[in-house]
Amino acid sequence: MSELLARLQSICGPEHVSDVLADRLCYRRDCGPTPGGVPDIVVRPESTAEVVEIVKLANEVRKPIFLWGRATTFVDFGVQEGCTVMALDLMNRILKIDLENQIVTAETGAIWHAVDSELNKLGWEMAVPGGGGMFSCTVGGTVAYNAVPHGITEYGVTGEHVVALEVVLPDGTVIHTGSAANTNAPLPIERGANGPDLTGLFIGSCGTLGVITEVTLRIHRIPECERFLFYAFDRLDDAVDAASAIQSQQAATFLIGLFGGPKPDGVEGEAFLHAIIRDTTVEAERRVRAVQVCCETFQGRPQDPGPTRRYWTEHMYSWLRNTPASAYYGGRPYYCPEVAGFMPTQALKEAIPLLHKYVAENEDFARVGMRVKGFDVYFSPNAAFLWVDTLYPEMDSEAWQVGLGVRAEIAEMLFSRWMSPGGIVAGIAPYIMPRLGTTYALLKTLKAALDPNNVLNPGVLGLGGDND
């Protein structure tokens, strides 16, 4: 037994540490395309105190740690060969539901949807539904990634609703952010308290600057009613203009555009908008009317909103295309080298045709059996979050290489003109971080200051590891 293994076992107990290959192989890869490195050890702490000890030990032995929530990101997390993976799934308790102060505090490994389900029993919900694309994600991972959630059009990104964090810094120091930082009154009720927004420093940092161990999030009452609308357009530009109008009217809770990939089953058109509205009954009616006016002004044709409702209630993307999940997802050993990010809504009028042209002119696509899963857009309050999802045969090594090449080319195409990615982690970092200039330099400075031994997620976000 290695000394490191023995010392980790002394911290967390032998049952929570493994160097068995069959275990280690399972902690290398997220939902992204590349396999990742196999860690030497997997350790599962149960408390912040254990996380502190593990981090201190990593500094002592200079062995990098990679953090593991549920690994449901799609862009390659970047686990390195020979590292220690610290899986945070045992830290999964809901610590406090505080309806008076409209917050919930949970440990980092609590499943977002499970926390939401507990709130639902009280008639409340997380301030952003969904917690990103996968409802199996963890609270801490979602915040660390700053996931783009369902309902972004009204509620914004996940990070906007984080009130306070408990973070273990790379040297083992435990800090609390926002109002929770006051050691005499550690109440996590307001993020904008006690000086600079240190909460924001860790949101989207992908675990490079500290280990998020507790998260306090805003909650609100479940809205009185939900309404659903679905529109088809013959022209992309009309759909984009309708979306812009809906954004300016603040009419939709969640507005989704389908601008590529399979068309919704049984619906004619070239571009499609799904709108979900959640509000009081009276206000929802006004907002429904606003969406209708915005769409019909730009030649949108109303469709049966059943697929929109099913998408929202069943959390299955397939319903956006009026397709049961079995038909849409089943039987395809494909992987998805996703590129996604924020861009101006009106820029979609240029970007989407460019993507279609790129696909049409790329001979490799047909040759390796590529599909376009979708050029789908989650509209934020004022911009567009475009997902460029292409699918490649998982079992074909040539297709795999082509897919990674396509990811690089699409990233170059979009990041050089309009797009800034949301989740970056390791897979997208090479394509965006060098474009950040002095901001990247500042991030490197922060990383070096907080994590001089590069023990936390080295290489993720292009920070630490071989990047410096």
Binding site: L21, C26, R70, T72, I111, A114, S117, S136, P333, E394
Partner: protein, 389 residues
Amino acid sequence: MTDDLPLRAVAQPIYECLRCAFCFDLSWLGAANLCPAYAYGAFESYGARGRIAIARALLEGELEYDESVAQRIFACTECRACAEHCFKYIDTVRIFAAMRRDLAACGLIPPALAAVTDGLAETHNLYGKPHEKRLSWLKDKSRVDHPARMAFFVGCTPAYVRRTLARDTYAVLAASGLDFTVLSDEWCCGHPFMAAGQQERAAEVMRHNVEALKALGVERVVFECPGCMRTFREDVPEVLGEPLPFEVAHVTEELARQVEAGRLRFDVFQAGAVVTYHDPCTLGRGLGIYDAPRTIINAIPGMRLAEMPRHGRDAYCCGAGSFVRYDYPDFTDQTGHERLREAESTGAQYLLTACPACVTQFQYVRGQINSPLQVMDLITLANRLARWR
């Protein structure tokens, strides 16, 4: 790894795995476990996503079958919850069955299960009892080997361990007016062999039972044990490479039909009694039978059904599936305790189920945790209260 191992045949579904982790828990019910093996083993390698990652590593030569892999594959009740909730609709259990066959070929069957299947090959029953005692639960042998269009396949557990259940099932079928037969030379269905990855041994017993039933002119076989029924319906055609020459049905389906036809009514149970129903994994997710037991329960006067949070397709395993108690008793106990506590949380006084293995498991673990719940098989209760018209 050689090219002819069964895992190669399921490479495509292995590579379909998205790694979404929907196979870990039932988050729409709060912090609720979905996979008992993951809850037990705790590392992802015990859950479906992890096991598929192991399968992929085996295919790609990064890992060889060994005892650590064997533990992660055999410490699984095959409850099918992972398959039921898979985002990509992958038949995960089929992948794990292929891995069991590979492990068996490598001599890596867990020791207790291996010993049980060795005994089974000798005695044709799971419990190593004399074969000639298989029908000792049945006094009136008039239907034995009597040519009929319908047969009652008893199964090892009712025949040797839960004989009351065998008698109750026989009684309700007889009272329903159906003409049926019982085999004098019934062998184990083959489920333990399949669980151990011993397909060749399974084929032998399957062939024996099918031929014996065909010889009596049977067109329909009724089961009390869901494990036997699923083995016949799903495994026998695959292993023997030919369609099953008769229909199969579960006794709860028969009784539900009689209830719906108005031929079967029930006496009052205890007035105000609250019961909860445990969906056996094999009856529910394995065979898709969720409504028939509830039809029977709801027809019993004076009984109120309180569902557990995890029920129907979301039901949590009792912990007994796939014979894991032989080698992983702590896993079985832990899972059984969790399910029993969930049943208690409904406020029920009675826990009903419709599977001899589940009943045996609950009877066993309720003593371990001093549960006040009374455990009953639904067929036994139905027979006790039945009023036939």
